[in-house]
Symmetry: C2
Subunit: 242 residues, 2 copies
DNA sequence: TAGTTAACACCTAGGTGGAAACTT
DNA sequence: AAGTTTCCACCTAGGTGTTAACTA
């Protein structure tokens, strides 16, 4: 995932659907992003792999993205797909825009937090998320990603360009193609290859970002409003992601 | 003020600052727009005046714009200038976008409402604002305006074009000027007139919209958190606007 | 050399009044 | 004739990867 000094959105954005909330209870929904391991990585071009390149850099100030619809009732949250597309990542450790601060060339795992309102009174973008009764965390292994300041891999670049509306200007059909190549590719029978690029189409794609497709929408199930506790959380998580 | 079927922002937008709230109490801030009188108007070009042209059209479904930061603590509200720039006006009585529905060619008065959270549980964009203890309404006479679907008056048009960033394309310095006029106006000594147009500069400006300048920021004072009642409201209002 | 930064062209998304077509 | 609607060029605001310059 690209990170910049000014802050960069994730693409694709994390999107989840939640069930099992108490419709009349108020909740905050928040997201943070935690290191997967204690390593720094480098991308080895000839083998198209990320390899360990030493230990992780020193920790950065923890940041929390509080979903802008927070707080809202369980009913409201459950009725919609919850999108984190406004969340931004930065490598600026002195960031004062409330963006999530990460190290480049490290592996990270996003987490979604569901926080009952009465447990979230001290919720803040610059404080760690509280834990305990009334607070649940969810994470999906397929959403692990590696941070970069510039793409290391042409397939990832291609995928982003083809999928992100804001990158339309770099698509093959755009002005980017030059002369002969443009003409050749304008023939339909020559085109089926990369225009519809998905992860399934590229065996052996390096895990700069793993299974971005799955980001498009995950379901979170809470057993039921009464058993809303860290324990039932892990059971639920296990059954959905194991 | 322009109103359209799809919904049009007000320009300038209503902006207020509030003091006297209980910093730790939660409030909704909302806006509605009420008829000034029971009349329909027409613009008489030769006299540059709005004149009564019969009785008002039949009432439209009442709508409320709930400020998107709602609910928030008194502290949060008092720290910022509260802007209603996302609010939209429409003449579509069947509108389903939650916009405020008005009749064209009528006079209206925006009202700002401060609603203590425990009094606003049934707050809805399609229901009238509750009244009683814990709910206060504020309105400023200089924010009265007349609705139109097309400007009736070249001075208003000019004012909007000069002040609204989104209308920059119609400014004199843009491509709009034609030949000679452009050349003439490019001389600095010929320019001081309308480029810095304000209401003060135009004596006798017709009240299609009255004192837009004052929209830029009004202060609302609540006597103090303890006397938060409709009665103290009207006293405060009187002292600030009388 | 490997990684980062800043400026940039090219997009999406949506807010302006103008002008002509349309309605009543 | 008077008012409304639709389409449009022209903006603001901001999200993309590219590129070349920069940095350690």
């Amino acid at each position: 995932m690209i990170i910049t000094k000014a802050g960069r959105r994730m693409f694709p954005a994390m999107r989840v659907k939640i069930s099992g909330l108490d419709p009349h209870q108020q909740y905050y929904i928040a997201m943070d992003i935690v290191p997967v391991d204690n390593k720094r990585y480098r991308y080895v071009y000839h083998s198209s792999k990320w390899m360990v390149a030493g230990n992780a850099d020193s920790p950065v100030p923890p940041r929390v993205y509080i979903h802008p619809d927070s707080p809202a009732s369980g009913e409201t949250w459950m009725r919609q797909v919850i999108s984190f597309d406004k969340l931004k990542l930065t490598n600026n450790e002195l960031d004062d825009q409330g963006h999530i601060i990460l190290h480049s060339m490290h592996k990270y795992q996003p987490r979604v937090h569901v926080i009952r309102k009465d447990c979230g009174d001290d919720l803040s973008p610059i404080k760690p998320i509280p834990s305990g009764e009334g607070v649940k965390a969810f994470s999906f292994p397929e959403t692990v990603f590696t941070t970069v300041t510039a793409y290391q891999n042409q397939q990832i670049t291609r995928l982003k360009i083809d999928r992100n509306p804001f990158a339309k200007g770099f698509r093959d059909s755009g002005r980017n193609r030059m002369g002969l190549e443009a003409l050749v590719e304008s023939y339909a029978f020559w085109r089926p290859s990369l225009r519809t690029l998905t992860f399934e189409d590229i065996p052996g794609i390096p895990k700069q970002e793993y299974a971005a497709r799955s980001f498009r929408g995950r379901d979170i199930f809470l057993a039921n409003p009464d058993s809303f506790s860290p324990h039932s959380l892990s059971r639920n998580l296990g059954s959905k992601d194991g």
